[in-house]
C-alpha cells in the first residue's frame, strides 16, 4: 500500500482550512476513497486538524457511515426499516448470515462479501429492499437472495 499515504495526502490537501467542522467531511472523503477508516487516516486527520486522535475515533464510531474494516468486493446492504421488517427483512438477514457466515459490519474472510444493515433506505413501498454495490433488489424472498448471492459468486470466479 505504498500509495496509501499519498492518497491520504491528496485528500487532506482538499481541506486546507483547519477547522473542527471539517472533520466529518474529511472522514467521509476517507470512507469514500478507501471504503473504510484506517489507523493512518485517523492519525493523519488528527495531525492535520490539530485534534487528538481519540476525538477523531470517538466521532467516527458514533456514526453509521464510518466502518473500520475494508469492505468486500460485493457490499450487501439490507434495509431493516419498519416496512421492510414487516416484509420479511429478518428472514433475509438470517439467510444471508447463513450463506456468507458474517453479521452486520463484517466482511467474509475471502474478502468477497461484506454486509451492512441499514435502518430505512426510504423506499418503503417496495419492501423488502436489498442492494449489492448499488444495484437494488426489491420485493424479494429467501429464494431470490440465494440466487442473487450465488450469481455474484459465479461472476467473481
Amino acid at each position: 500500500m505504498e500509495n496509501h499515504a499519498s492518497r491520504i495526502e491528496d485528500i487532506l490537501r482538499r481541506f486546507p482550512q483547519i477547522k473542527r467542522n471539517a472533520l466529518i467531511p474529511l472522514l467521509q472523503a476517507m470512507q469514500d476513497e478507501f471504503g473504510y477508516i484506517s489507523e493512518e487516516a485517523v492519525a493523519s486527520i488528527g495531525s492535520h486538524l490539530s485534534l487528538p486522535t481519540s476525538k477523531v475515533y470517538g466521532l467516527a464510531t458514533f456514526y453509521n457511515q464510518f466502518t473500520f474494516s475494508p469492505r468486500g468486493m460485493y457490499h450487501v446492504v439490507l434495509c431493516n426499516g419498519t416496512s421492510c421488517h414487516m416484509g420479511g427483512a429478518g428472514e433475509l438477514l438470517n439467510e444471508i448470515t447463513k450463506l456468507l457466515e458474517i453479521i452486520d459490519g463484517e466482511t467474509t474472510r475471502d474478502g468477497m462479501f461484506s454486509l451492512e444493515v441499514q435502518s430505512c433506505i426510504g423506499a418503503c413501498g417496495q419492501s423488502p429492499v436489498m442492494a449489492v454495490n448499488g444495484t437494488y433488489y426489491s420485493g424479494i424472498g429467501v429464494k431470490e437472495v440465494r440466487d442473487i448471492i450465488k450469481q455474484y459468486r459465479e461472476d467473481a470466479e
Binding site: 489507523e39 485517523v42 492519525a43 487528538p52 486522535t53 481519540s54 476525538k55 475515533y57 470517538g58 464510531t61
Partner: protein, 574 residues
C-alpha cells in the same frame, strides 16, 4: 442577588444567571449529581439533579437550568425521588456486583448514591455489557465494566490536561470510554497524571496497586528495603487516619514504615533540595549564554511525558535534572550499597508519593542503570494508607520518629516543591544567594503564593532581574507556552506542574471529599515552611554534608553523571 424563587415551599434569593443547582446548594439543599464538575460547564447528562419546576411538564436538570423570577421548584418530591432512584437502579443493572472486591469499596460514589436513595433490591435485571480490564500501563488500570459513563475523566483529560488520551466512542448502549481504536492505555497519549483517577466516581479507573509485591522482599534477609516519602504525601493522609486535616504525620508514618519492615526511611525532599541547588547552577550557565526562553523545570514526570510528546522544540529549555525522587533514588542506589557493604541489586528502593506518573517514570529507560530500574517500585498515598491499615498499628499510640541520614531534609525548601509555585519560590532563594551572596527574606516572595493556576513575579536579585513564573494544569501550561513561543510573554524561570495546584493534588492522593481539601494541603505546606528555620536548599546542612562527603561541587562531574538525564522527542503511537 435579588431574584426570589420558591423551593419546597420556602422563599430563597438567588443571583441573576445562577443555575438552580448553585442556588439550592448555597441554601443548604443538597441535590445528588454525577456528571457535574466544579469550574467546568454543566453537561446535564446524568439526570440525577432533576427537579420539578412548575410550568414545565418534564423534570428539569438543576445543574444547567437558569433560575427565573418567581420560579416554583420542588427538589425532593416523590416524582423526583422516583426518577433519581430509577436512574441509579438502571446504573446498577449494568454494573458488576463486585463491591466487596473493589478497590473503591467504601469510597465509591455509586455506593453512596445507592445508600442515600435507599435502594434495597435488584429491581431491574438484565444483561451486562462485557468489557476487558486494561492493565497495560504501569500506572493506571481501566475497568470499563465499572464505568458509569459520567464523562468526568474525559473532560478532565481534555479540558484540564489538554491530552485527550480517551474519549467517548460508539453510541447508545455500546457507549464506552475508549482510546483510539480501543488500544491499551500505554499506546495512547496518556501521561499517567492520574487526574482521571481522582475524578472517577467508581472503580473504573484505579492505579496499579503494587504494595502486595513488597511482601516477598520486605522480610527477606538478603534484601534491604528502603522507602522515600514525598513532601506532599505526609500532609495529605491526616483525614484518612483519623487526624485533623492538614496535620503533618511524617514522624508517625516513618514509625509505622519501620515497624512494617522497611530498613531505611528517607525523604524525597532531600532530592528536592538537591535539585534546587543543581538547578541554580544550570540557571547560571544559561544566563551567561543568554537564552530567549525560560529555564523550564523537570520535576514533574507527567509534564515531561507531555513536553516530549507535544513540545519537543522546547526540550533545549528543559532543566536536564531528574525529578526529586529519582535523584534521591539514584543516590540511594549509588551510595547506600557501599555504606552497607551490600550489592546494588540487594537494595529494594521504594518511592511513596502522591504521583501516579512516577510509576511510569520509574520504567523509563533513562531511569535505569545497567538495565536495572533505579527505583524498584512507586506507591501512592492511597496505597500507603492501605499499608498502614493492614499493619494493624494504632498511630495514636506511636511516637513520631526521624528519617534516616543522609537522605533527609533539615530545611523546608525541598518540602515546598509539593505545592504549585513552591519549586520556583525555593529555587529563587538559591538564585538570590548566588547573585548577591545574601539570603532573601522568604516573606518577600509570599506574594507569589496566590491561589491561581498561573502566577508570575519579577524579583530583583541585586542588579539582576529574575522573572519567575509557575503554571499548573497542562491546559493552562499549553496556553502559556504558546504565549512564550510567540514572544508575548518573557520569563527566566518557569515551573510547570501537570496537576492543578501541584503535587498536593496528584493522581495518587486520597479522593477528595470536597474542594477545600487542596487549600488545606497547601496551607499545611506553607505553614511548615513558615515555621522552619532553614529556608534555603543551599543552606541545608544535610545537603551540604552530602556534597562534601560524596558529590563534590554542584554542577560537577559526579552531578552530571548521576543526576543529569536526557529528555527526547517521543512519538505518540496513535
Amino acid at each position: 442577588m435579588g431574584i426570589k424563587l420558591e423551593v419546597n415551599g420556602r422563599t430563597i434569593e438567588a443571583g441573576k444567571g445562577e443555575t438552580i443547582l448553585s442556588a439550592l446548594n448555597r441554601h443548604g439543599m443538597h441535590v445528588p449529581t454525577i456528571c457535574s464538575m466544579k469550574d467546568l460547564s454543566p453537561s446535564g447528562a446524568c439526570r440525577m439533579c432533576v427537579v420539578e419546576v412548575e410550568g414545565h411538564d418534564k423534570l428539569v436538570p438543576a445543574c444547567s437550568f437558569p433560575i427565573e423570577e418567581s420560579m416554583k421548584i420542588l427538589s425532593h418530591s416523590p416524582r423526583v425521588l422516583r426518577a433519581r432512584k430509577t436512574n441509579v437502579e438502571l446504573l446498577l443493572s449494568n454494573h458488576p456486583d463486585d463491591c466487596l472486591y473493589c478497590e473503591r469499596n467504601g469510597s465509591c460514589e455509586l455506593q453512596s448514591l445507592s445508600e442515600d436513595l435507599n435502594i434495597r433490591e435488584r429491581r431491574i435485571p438484565g444483561k451486562r455489557s462485557p468489557y476487558k480490564i486494561d492493565k497495560s500501563g504501569p500506572a493506571i488500570v481501566r475497568d470499563p465494566a465499572k464505568c458509569i459513563l459520567c464523562g468526568r475523566c474525559v473532560r478532565i483529560c481534555e479540558e484540564i490536561m489538554s491530552t485527550s488520551a480517551f474519549d467517548f466512542a460508539h453510541r447508545g448502549n455500546e457507549l464506552r470510554i475508549s482510546t483510539t481504536f480501543e488500544k491499551s492505555l500505554n499506546y495512547s497519549s496518556c501521561t499517567s497524571c492520574g487526574q482521571c483517577l481522582i475524578a472517577c466516581p467508581t472503580g473504573a479507573l484505579i492505579e496499579h496497586v503494587q504494595f502486595p509485591e513488597l511482601e516477598e522482599s520486605i522480610h527477606a534477609p538478603d534484601k534491604v528495603v528502603v522507602a522515600q516519602l514525598s513532601p506532599a504525601l505526609t500532609i495529605s493522609v491526616a483525614e484518612q487516619l483519623g487526624f485533623k486535616p492538614g496535620t503533618d504525620l511524617k514522624g508517625l508514618i516513618i514509625a509505622v514504615l519501620r515497624r512494617y519492615g522497611f530498613d531505611f526511611v528517607f525523604e524525597s525532599s532531600f532530592g528536592g533540595d538537591l535539585m534546587i541547588v543543581e538547578q541554580a547552577e544550570v540557571f547560571e550557565e544559561r544566563r551567561k549564554e543568554g537564552r530567549d526562553y525560560p529555564l523550564i523545570t523537570s520535576s514533574c514526570p507527567a509534564w515531561i511525558h507531555f513536553i516530549e510528546q507535544y513540545y519537543p522544540e522546547l526540550l533545549p529549555e528543559l532543566s536536564p535534572l531528574k525529578s526529586p525522587h529519582q535523584l534521591t533514588g539514584t543516590l540511594i542506589r549509588e551510595w547506600l550499597p557501599g555504606q552497607l557493604d551490600r550489592g546494588k541489586k540487594e537494595i529494594v528502593s521504594v518511592v511513596i508519593t502522591s504521583c501516579t506518573a512516577a510509576k511510569t517514570e520509574a520504567r523509563r529507560v533513562e531511569m535505569t542503570q545497567d538495565g536495572v530500574p533505579v527505583v524498584d517500585m512507586v506507591l501512592t498515598t492511597r496505597e500507603l494508607v492501605r499499608m498502614i491499615k493492614l499493619s494493624g498499628l494504632d498511630l495514636e499510640q506511636l511516637e513520631p520518629e526521624l528519617p534516616d541520614a543522609p537522605f533527609y531534609s533539615s530545611g523546608s525548601a525541598g518540602k515546598l516543591t509539593g505545592v504549585a509555585g513552591g519549586e520556583v519560590e525555593a529555587t529563587l532563594r538559591s538564585l538570590y544567594h548566588k547573585a548577591t551572596g545574601k539570603e532573601i527574606s522568604p516573606s518577600k516572595l509570599h506574594r507569589f503564593r496566590i491561589h491561581k493556576s498561573f502566577r508570575e513575579m519579577t524579583v530583583m536579585a541585586g542588579k539582576r532581574e529574575i522573572r519567575m513564573g509557575s503554571v499548573s494544569g497542562l491546559a493552562n501550561a499549553v496556553a502559556l507556552l504558546e504565549e512564550i513561543k510567540s514572544g508575548k510573554r518573557k520569563l527566566d524561570l518557569l515551573e510547570v506542574m501537570a496537576c492543578p495546584d501541584g503535587c498536593i493534588n496528584g493522581g495518587g492522593q486520597a479522593i477528595p471529599v470536597d474542594e477545600r481539601v487542596n487549600r488545606t494541603r497547601s496551607k499545611a505546606i506553607y505553614d511548615l515552611d513558615n515555621a522552619s528555620s532553614i529556608h534555603s536548599a543551599h543552606g541545608c546542612p544535610s545537603l551540604q554534608r552530602f556534597y562534601h562527603d560524596f558529590l563534590g561541587e554542584p554542577g560537577g562531574k559526579l552531578s552530571r553523571d548521576l543526576l543529569y538525564t536526557v529528555y527526547t522527542k517521543r512519538e505518540v503511537m496513535l
